[in-house]
Symmetry: C2
Subunit: 315 residues, 2 copies
């Protein structure tokens, strides 16, 4: 029962330059990451499950307007918020995923309900929202998700005539400055169980109905007690094509790569080869933690029972 | 240019007992499989691409009312047809997937348009239907998809109070008799390129918004020129959790298993361990073809340029 335990979280990756973030704003982001990290870590410390830690850490990030998930979700081209989330339990490979949902305060909690209380794994749109109501999850008005900064972002994206992959393009900056707003968590608990979860608001001004990797088990989210737990953030289309989460796991299980080697192979080689920008957070069954990304930066944090702790944004 | 080439197709798996299929009905199914097979094979024979062969073979099955895809799609609990499809190009790992679409005659062709003519990979619902209209794909009325047999099936499922995974439960038979109605094709062309595609009408009386593995790249559909092309049919939730398509490919690429060994490991061991009933069709870069299933039967057919040919239903 003295198993090493730990948690890692992310709040999105992309072109996050030191010059574009004021010290005050940097502090806001780091404080929010620290709060989510400590929420999850304290659950693990008390002997709670990795699933509970992952859900609680993501709830904290979903409730924070700084990140593109839950409250901070961006506007799609219809001026709506369409959110996706998925969660996976490494113990029995059970999984839950929701896509294209509106007005649900915490999409990751709905994904967990789908996993634990229905015969389904993947439910989208109104069907998923009906489950949220049936499970008495918190429903919020459009007003709750309204954010003036996000609204201005949407107007900029509309004027530029494109969908922005980033979650806070600065005015005057080109769409080349990509930021992939998504949040996620992976954890290993004292019982040796791994879990992973991811939640996102998608791309600013995206077409209605577009799903990225955050809703796709095997791509944006994957957990398997035999190997590791993974949560991704990046250019979703490329992450789906590369089946990123399962690929890291398969490289460990079938090719005997270490977590670090498998992450490097997928993020720094395979994704780079198809121009798949972004990163991931990973923890393995031994408590090793990796936070690789091939973009300029990634909002990230980790804490392990062996004393390691990190909160970082840039390379 | 004298590369071996071939194609395999399926029309669903499940409890298909010899006793429940009259000789006349068996002939109807086999004729339909033969027609789809020959449509795809003749494209390959003339030097056409594996993508074209896969799309054409699936179009043929989608247009046939016998199979649960396209015209033969089952009713969901709202009395609607919600169809899913996905396609993948092994040459460059490009992919397209659509979910929860209605009134589109050939969902696999929409998945291909998403892959080739948009920046997206995965689009669901009305957003996807709008793409179908923009791409001038054939839209059909609800009447086109109406089938008296499917309607009776839906009424039975409603009375039984459950969702049927099968696509033609016989009256008087229990829901234990599972048939997973889905169609799919995999092909290797003379240029050595692999492709895979899958199309389905989902489960009779399913909840609106439920997605199975047929829409999920890496699970129901996967193709990679380094290894193989896979299309699955079965209990979608379990196939998503097992990331079936990518797992077969990873076992070949990272563990050096043959196509037959990798298929056996996934379909007969890993899926069986989590009670994931169903099967898959697979072709590798050398032209080896496997059609494994752990259910009673699977509608299947294959033809290879080396002379092998098979059309079968039972074990």
């Amino acid at each position: 029962m003295n198993h090493k335990f730990g948690i890692a979280i992310h709040g999105g990756a992309g072109t996050i330059l030191r010059s574009s973030l004021t010290p005050e704003k940097e502090k806001l982001y780091k404080d929010a990451l620290r709060e989510a990290l400590s929420t999850g870590y304290s659950i693990l410390e008390k002997g709670g499950s990795s699933l509970d830690a992952v859900e609680a850490a993501i709830n904290s990030l979903e409730d924070c307007p700084l990140f593109n998930a839950g409250k901070g979700a961006v506007f799609n081209s219809d001026g709506k918020h369409e959110m996706d989330a998925s969660i996976m339990n490494g113990k029995d490979l059970s999984a839950g995923a929701v896509g294209l949902i509106s007005n649900v305060k915490n999409p990751i909690s709905l994904a967990r309900k789908i996993m634990e209380n229905t015969t389904h794994v993947f439910v989208c749109g109104e069907g998923a929202e009906n489950y949220a109501k049936a499970f008495r999850l918190k429903i919020e008005s459009d007003q709750y998700f309204y954010d003036d900064f996000r609204y201005q972002q949407w107007q900029q994206a509309r004027m530029a005539g494109g969908a922005f992959l980033d979650h806070h393009v600065q005015s005057g900056k080109s769409a080349d400055e990509k930021k992939f707003g998504t949040v996620g968590a992976v954890a290993l608990d004292k019982q040796g169980n791994l879990a992973a979860g991811t939640s996102t608001g998608g791309m600013t001004n995206k077409s209605p109905g577009r799903l990225g990797d955050s809703a796709v088990i095997g791509a944006g989210t994957y957990a398997n007690n035999n190997t590791c737990a993974i949560s991704c953030t990046g250019h979703g289309e490329l992450f789906i094509r590369a089946v990123v989460g399962h690929d890291v796991s398969a490289l460990m299980e079938y090719k005997n790569l270490s977590l670090a080697e498998a992450c490097h192979e997928v993020v720094m080689k395979k994704l780079v080869a198809i121009e798949g920008e972004g990163g991931l957070i990973a923890i393995d069954k031994h408590g090793n933690i990796e936070l690789p990304f091939n973009s300029e930066g990634m909002y990230r944090a980790m804490r392990c029972s062996d004393g390691r702790e990190e909160v970082a944004i840039y390379k």
